[in-house]
């Protein structure tokens, strides 16, 4: 089963979370909070509850089981959370008035072979959401590429989850969408000048945009500026987080409990929700800006999750354990067990396995622990979703 999560139009929502984050704070928090706010609002609308709080009491979760069907919609094996209302027009003026930019994040750990289908799926949903037939610019973000303004070299982790060939392969999919007239311009994110130079010869449609994340946008490497100018590639800025969707965050978002939407069951065999594990597949952000007035009229994010049964969840699992009892923790890890909530104390600890040092970092929002090899912890974003981490146990 597929789950489509939507923030709806962030510009209309009065969603303080869009703005309150200090610049340093990661935008993945923004995504989760705006999803949560949209779920809550849709719940309230469907059930008539006006309470701002959550259903914290014991009976609360019982109610939400009944509720989620009222504000979500299931069609052709896909659960829309909340239900996308295609009756509402996405844009208030005619298409030509807008610049529509879409940014698609391919997520780490998702097989490259799925990208072709994912790209079409994501673009289709955006087109439906905005009631348009084409977009002006599609920027794609490949996992595992980090731009570093200081030395103008992108970093890639050993093991290259997203090697060069897969990028080229993905790009040809985009080129076909471009040929179909669905997308006017293509763009990449986080490419340094070296990667661009390596990449361009493999393209039929050159990227017209390279979007880079800079803490201080006045320190762009000269080589990149010159190369981009020469190749007529526009350098744009963004403040998206590299780790757009940390592992575990959506489980809590959809699960039972105070902050959850009550869609996923609280335990295996529990009847209070859908059974299974969620596996994020892609995230797509879209913005529609009125060209000659610079007004952002519609901005939102859609997120696709695959729902898999716990026993089949092969490449990604959250391990939770009792930190008060390291011995049992070790056993839990070895037994490869699935989520058990632990007392909510922030913990950061190193656990030494015989073969490799592991780094357990506590994920505040979920109350679960995630294990990564310590050598990868500088880039927790990468590490968190490495398929082999837990398998290697």
């Amino acid at each position: 089963m597929k789950l489509i999560l939507s923030t709806s139009n962030l510009m209309q929502g009065g969603r303080p979370s869009v703005i309150r984050q200090p610049l340093s704070q990661k935008s993945n928090i923004e995504l989760i909070t705006s999803l949560r706010a949209n779920f809550l609002a849709s719940q309230q609308l469907a059930t008539g509850h006006q309470s701002n709080g959550s259903n914290g009491d014991a009976n609360g979760s019982q109610n939400t089981v009944q509720d989620y069907k009222a504000w979500t919609a299931e069609r052709d094996g896909t659960l829309y959370i909340p239900a996308l209302d295609s009756a509402q027009s996405g844009l208030s003026e005619e298409r030509s008035q807008y610049d529509i930019t879409v940014k698609l994040f391919y997520l780490p750990g998702v097989p490259v072979s799925r990208r072709c289908a994912h790209t079409r799926e994501a673009i289709d949903l955006v087109l439906k959401e905005l009631h348009v037939t084409s977009i002006d610019l599609l920027i794609v973000s490949f996992p595992g590429i980090l731009f570093d303004a200081d030395d103008d070299s992108e970093e890639e982790e050993a093991g290259k989850p997203d090697d060069f060939d897969s990028i080229v392969q993905t790009w040809s999919t985009l080129e076909s969408l471009h040929a179909e007239g669905m997308i006017s311009q293509l763009g990449v994110a986080e490419f340094g000048s070296e990667r661009l130079a390596r990449f361009l010869p493999h393209t039929k449609v050159k990227p017209s945009v390279d979007q880079i994340n800079l803490k201080d946008c006045c320190v762009v490497p000269k080589s990149l500026i010159l190369y981009a100018k020469q190749e007529q590639i526009q350098l744009l800025t963004h403040n998206d987080c590299n780790d757009i969707l940390p592992v575990g965050t959506t489980r809590e978002l959809l699960g039972p409990g105070d902050k959850g939407a009550g869609i996923l069951a609280s335990a295996p065999n529990s009847p209070d929700g859908i059974q299974g594990d969620v596996e994020p597949q892609w995230v797509v952000k879209y913005t529609a800006v009125v060209k000659d007035r610079g007004v952002v009229e519609n901005k939102g994010t859609l997120l696709l999750q695959m729902l898999a049964h716990a026993s089949k969840a092969g490449h990604e699992r959250e391990i939770s354990l009792d930190m008060h009892n390291p011995a049992s923790s070790r056993e839990d890890l070895r037994r490869n067990s699935t989520s058990i909530y632990i007392p909510s104390v922030p913990v950061l600890a190193l656990y030494h396995d015989s073969s490799e040092a592991f780094h357990y970092s506590f994920v505040h929002e979920t109350g679960t622990l995630i294990a990564y090899p310590a050598r990868l912890t500088q880039h927790a974003a990468l590490a968190a979703s490495h398929p082999y981490i837990l398998q290697s146990l």
């Binding site: 009065g14 969603r15 703005i19 006045c218 000659d292 007004v295 952002v296």
Partner: protein, 664 residues
């Protein structure tokens, strides 16, 4: 200042008789124009900045800075140049302004002033934003090129020694002329176009005495207590108005001034935005209004009047007093007998109306004591206008027209806007709502933001202009709500005058600017009903008391956000907007430097112009701690200002406190 028509201007007693007719005709013109233009749609964002300059002449031999009254000659020469300009001609070897139209120069009230605007309005294209600063610098160069070698345009709000006893103008004219009747400035200080002396003369006549400006003196160690303005002449007997000072016009502990030139001779930074349609214009008018006093305090640059340091930091109230034409009855000094009502504010003052048909506009935000001309309001409503907008114009039209040309009273032409503009353009509020000009059909509904003080450098002027543009985009994109009761904005305007208000004072500001969430619905109504202007949306929970919606905040909290409180800050709002649109690296870098200036002005890392000037004076070797800004200090200050304009405080040069925050 608008277009200057020529004709026979009526003296006050005659003008007064025709006031009613001009108002009525003005209202008919407004109605006709409103009917034609109310459906005007989808205009692009176009905007323009207006930069005003003082023309100073430096006399290095005698170390004197004087105001030059050469406006007319300079403008004539500028106009000639503009007429001869060809777009393909590269007049500037560096090609910096390729494709830009030559700037426009306009006369201003003061004969020592110039106003310059970009040759074409700006758009929202981010490349346009990058041109603003260089275009402002270009304007300065072009203006300077048409002046005598020792003259230059500077952007101080006021000339420090305007109205002193010495020869502060060039050429020199003695004071006490028939139009202004000022004991400090000559009639020749004003633009000689008939409109200006008539305006000044009729304000004085209507008022029944000279205008009266009393600014509290800055009390330094050696300032006399009480301070009695030593430049006031109590023995002058040229005009009946010379009695004013003998009747107590000059107050103790204040610097006293008595002419329109002391106010209207100030330089401002004004921004005009074109809205998509009338609805958007009305929304911007309301939402920008609470920002007026905040930006006034943040741009504070006026600590000197008539050769004395004063205890306020901004120009606003001085202009207000300089054009205050209210009679003693209207002022409430004597009981109403001949006049129609008591009027709480000068024609130049903060706004008193909200005009947007926004469901979030609660009736509590409106001024319950607003003075309106009920007959005019009725005429507008009968003509089809809604209550809010009719109230706004019926409020503006409580004033008398001041300059009436007899030639214009022969026949009413509802296809023109001259009588409407007569009233509209002499209501100098901090926001102005401008209908499309009836004579042109390519201009839309516009809103003018008028409170900012001019800054010494073009970097600062560009920064504040662009900041305001970005704020309007954030307001429209996020559908922000800055509403507070309009009387609080009036109070904030007063607060903005306090010395160092930018750091020391608190201002009323709305805590939560975000719209209440109306999620996409399954069948229920979302659309706001524009006709129910002061209704609350049906599905929202009941609103709390208005007083709980706002609180007192520092400028730093308003600009940069409250660490604890709920207000996110104007700069984070702008950043958030910029993160939602495609901005190229170079532009973002420029914008970052502008936003950084504003952020640091607000948190005190950088000084305001007012503080920098005050510190310059008090640390000048010849300053005697007696509040006096001598000719020598004035000369050195003007020289310093010229240098700051060029070097912008780089590498520890003078002015670094304004612009850099550190010496190196």
């Amino acid at each position: 200042m608008g277009l200057l028509a020529l004709g026979t201007a009526l003296e006050w007693p005659e003008a007064k008789k025709k006031a009613h007719q001009v108002r009525q005709w003005g209202i008919e013109q407004l109605l006709a124009n409103w009917r034609r233009m109310k459906g005007k749609e989808r205009d692009a964002l176009l905007w323009g900045d207006e930069v005003e300059y003082l023309v100073v002449a430096l006399d290095d031999a005698s170390k004197k800075a004087r105001l030059s009254l050469a406006q007319a000659e300079i403008l004539k020469s500028l106009a000639l140049d503009e007429a001869n300009w060809k777009p393909d001609e590269s007049q500037h070897g560096d090609g910096d302004h390729d494709g830009e139209h030559p700037p426009h120069f306009h006369p201003e009230f003061g004969r020592f002033m110039l106003e310059a605007t970009p040759g074409r309005p700006w758009g929202i294209g981010f490349k346009d934003l990058l041109k603003v600063e260089s275009n402002m610098k270009w304007r300065r160069e072009v203006a300077k090129a048409h002046m005598a070698p020792n003259e230059s345009p500077i952007t101080l709000t006021t000339f420090p020694r305007l109205g002193t006893k010495d020869d502060y103008i060039q050429p020199y004219y003695p004071p006490s002329g028939p139009a202004l009747r000022s004991q400090f400035v000559p009639d020749e200080i004003a633009n000689p176009h008939i409109r200006f002396p008539t305006l000044a003369g009729n304000i004085r006549s209507r008022r029944g005495r000279k205008v009266e400006l009393n600014v509290p003196i800055y009390k330094d160690k050696n300032t006399p207590v009480p301070f009695k303005d030593p430049t006031v002449n109590y023995d002058l007997h040229n005009w009946p108005e010379d009695d004013d000072v003998r009747n107590g016009a000059a107050k103790d502990d204040h610097v006293y001034m008595d002419a329109m030139a002391f106010g209207m001779g100030s330089c401002c930074l004004q921004i005009t935005f074109q809205a998509k349609n009338m609805t958007e214009g009305r929304k911007l008018y309301d939402q920008l209004s609470p920002l007026g006093p905040i930006l006034l305090a943040l741009t504070a640059a006026t600590p000197i009047y008539k050769g004395f340091l004063v205890d306020t930091d901004v120009r606003w109230n001085q202009i207000s007093a300089a054009v205050d034409d209210r009679t003693p009855e209207e002022l409430g000094e004597v009981p109403l007998k001949n006049d129609r009502w008591r009027i709480p504010k000068s024609r130049y003052a903060s706004n008193s109306t909200y005009i947007s048909q926004d469901p979030r506009l609660r009736p509590e935000y409106l001024d319950p004591d607003l003075v309106v001309d009920e007959d005019i309001k009725k005429r507008l409503i009968d003509g089809g206008m809604d209550d809010l907008l009719a109230t706004h114009f019926a409020h503006l039209f409580i004033r008398d027209p001041l300059v009436i040309f007899s030639e214009d009273l022969e026949e009413l032409d509802v296809n023109k806007g001259d009588h409407f503009e007569n009233l509209q353009s002499t209501n100098w509020q901090h926001m102005r709502f401008k209908p499309p000009p009836s004579e042109k059909d390519d201009i839309g509904w516009r809103v003018e933001f008028r409170s900012m003080e001019i800054q010494i450098t073009d970097f600062e002027n560009a920064a504040f202009s662009i900041f305001m543009v970005l704020i309007t985009r954030a307001i429209l994109s996020f559908d922000l709500n800055f509403y507070i009761p309009i009387q609080r904005t009036t109070e904030n305007m007063e607060t903005a005058h306090v010395r160092n208000a930018v750091l020391d004072s608190k201002f009323y500001f709305r805590k939560d600017p975000f719209p209440k969430r109306v999620p996409r619905t399954h069948g229920s109504t979302v659309s706001a009903n524009p006709s129910s202007a002061v209704n609350t949306p049906p599905s929202s929970p009941p609103l709390g008391p208005v007083e709980s919606e706002y609180e007192l905040m520092t400028i730093a909290e308003i600009i940069n956000g409250c660490p604890e409180g709920s207000f996110p800050g104007l700069i984070p709002l702008v950043e958030s907007y910029l993160n939602s649109v495609n901005v190229d690296v170079e532009t973002r870098c420029f914008l970052a430097s502008y936003l950084d200036l504003i952020r640091k002005r607000a948190d005190g890392t950088l000084w305001t112009g007012a503080k920098w000037i005050r510190e310059f004076v008090t640390h000048h070797p010849s300053y005697k701690q007696d509040s006096v800004v001598s000719e020598e200090i004035c000369y050195d200050l003007v020289k310093a200002v010229e240098e700051v304009t060029v070097n912008e405080g780089r590498n520890g040069r003078i002015g670094w406190e304004l612009l850099r925050g550190k010496k190196n």
